[in-house]
Amino acid sequence: MQEGWYEMNFIWDAALRARKQGMRKEDVAYVPAEDGSPYYELSFDYLNRSEVGPEPVPVNALYRFSAIFQYLLHPDVRYLLEKDKEEFIQKAFDSLLHILCEVDLHHGITRQECYVRKLRQELLGGVFGQGAAALTGSLTQKEQLVVAEELLHTIRCGSSLQGFGQAFHRLFPKGLLYQSRFTPNELYAYLDEPEDQARERAWQSFCQLFLPLDFSVRVFWQPHFGILGLDGTMKDDIALF
């Protein structure tokens, strides 16, 4: 599914969206929706909204959690019985939704996810050597999890060219991987990104983690190498080998 296209439906949707926008969990506040739709948990003004703003997120808490909130949010309670506690009710509602959101966010945890995250922790801790720790440390959390996921795949299936290719495409999405026809254990990787020291080190560590010992790989950073018969590659600025 294309990111940022679909509407937000649940409180965890909003939390993940806020995270992507660089907001912390503390920056999101929840308020009871004034006129919430019975079909949606989040009650933004329009349905196709895809971003969380600085203003509080209106939530129809009765959508999933009516058993919890039916007393607190009952109009009799809010406007008649406990009118003087309105401020408390607002803040308590917000805090409780933060807790419920945490529960939501753990809903999809599986053994796989647990293993991946533990491997990420051990990668960062140097169990796979300082090079791998430095590589992982220099990546975003999302990429770190990709490395750990691919590592788990390698542990499950053994090291292979297939596994290397898969990890390559996930960590260097712009790159192209070629295999020599004459010597099948020679690979050529075209990364399509400017070569700098940090990326060079990242590439080295990546190969250490995923490249099977019996393969060798030659890397091309920005200029692609020319391939006879493929006009697109035979431009002015080509790499030679």
Binding site: E26, C101, T154, Q208
Partner: protein, 429 residues
Amino acid sequence: MGIFTDEFDLAGYVEQQAMKIDGLQNRELFRDIIGDMFTQLYQHMYEEYHGLEQRMLAELPKPAEMPDLMTGLCPRTKYDLTDKELYPMDSDDLRKKEIPAADILWHLQKGESYALFPVFFAGETETLQRLVRERHTFSGTVKTAFGEVAATFELRPCRRYLEQIAALYPVVQQNALPWRSVLSPYLYKFAEVWITSLEGGQEDMSVQRVIIDYAEFRDVIHEDMVPLWNIQPWEVNASCYPEPCMDKTAYEHRLYANQLPAGSQYLVARSDAAIRNLRWQDGEFIISCDQRVSGAWPMLRIYPVASREKYGYRVYGNNHNQSFARNLIESYGQRIKTRGEIERFLRSFACMEDFELQDVQLRKKADKIATYSTEAFIDYEFRTGSREYTLELVFQAKQQDYRNVDVLSFLVTSLQHYFPEYTCAGRLV
């Protein structure tokens, strides 16, 4: 850091939000109910998550393995008999031995040489091997009650300690545990001093001292050194109960917990009994075998060693750290032929902390192999000489040390188990 990395800080949030409530009564209520009660509830919830995480990770069994073996070295006079970590490999080493002059003369007259005592060579193993190979002659004197007699000496291989290590292999097998190479750098640096000639001398003389001039090796050859390990022979009395087991009788020998103090690990030493099964049950050790008569079982008690250095010498062992990745890899049992995996495997051993793995190459032919096999006694299991490729590992030592090559040899030999299809070879740069 567990697997839950972005936990919401509810307590902090409540404190921050409380100040935004203007009504003081409301603020207090908020602190009491959400701040106290719900923060506790929330913490409890997370503790349960962490517990779940621990249980999920612990589901993977730790691979069964033989106990960690540690080795050390000690000058004979310095050994502390109350030591609860390291014991002499041969307790006779602690006694000063008499040198029987008559025996020496008898052998020398027949044109044979005579083994006097072992010495420790605090230098490169290769240098010692060269001295032995080239039959380097040292001169010296034998001091008797009547005066001094000139003599010549030679260093020859001292195998007895290494044979003790080799003797552990069938023991470990008998205990149905996978073998792990033993890191014992000191044992490769022992040589036996042989007396090869004596100028004069009489049968009735008594040898008081043998003084050998080790010349340029004066500083590295030490006499009266005792190799230590964390093993002590341990005898345990057992009661035997016949147990019917479907179509046969199993004779179960029970070794009670009070004879097997906790904290140590135990192996059944080599025994003639046909052992079928060994198991621990409620602190008792049960040996099932075909032997009906109860009696004492020879065991090996293996002590945990916390000291990194003892008697002025570093303690070396084949101990390695636990990691989740290791349990995972062992349980899936797949072959991972990457440099990262080699690094992980080597890095798991405590002794790897002194080295950096600089390069790993598959080669048709390796040049300048520095390492030797620390398992020469089971070389036949690796079918040496028939492999097409050599896996060459280049290490960098953090510090110059005469034991470095021996430690690398252990690491490379351990890796050999992992890659039986390659000849693993290491070298230092």
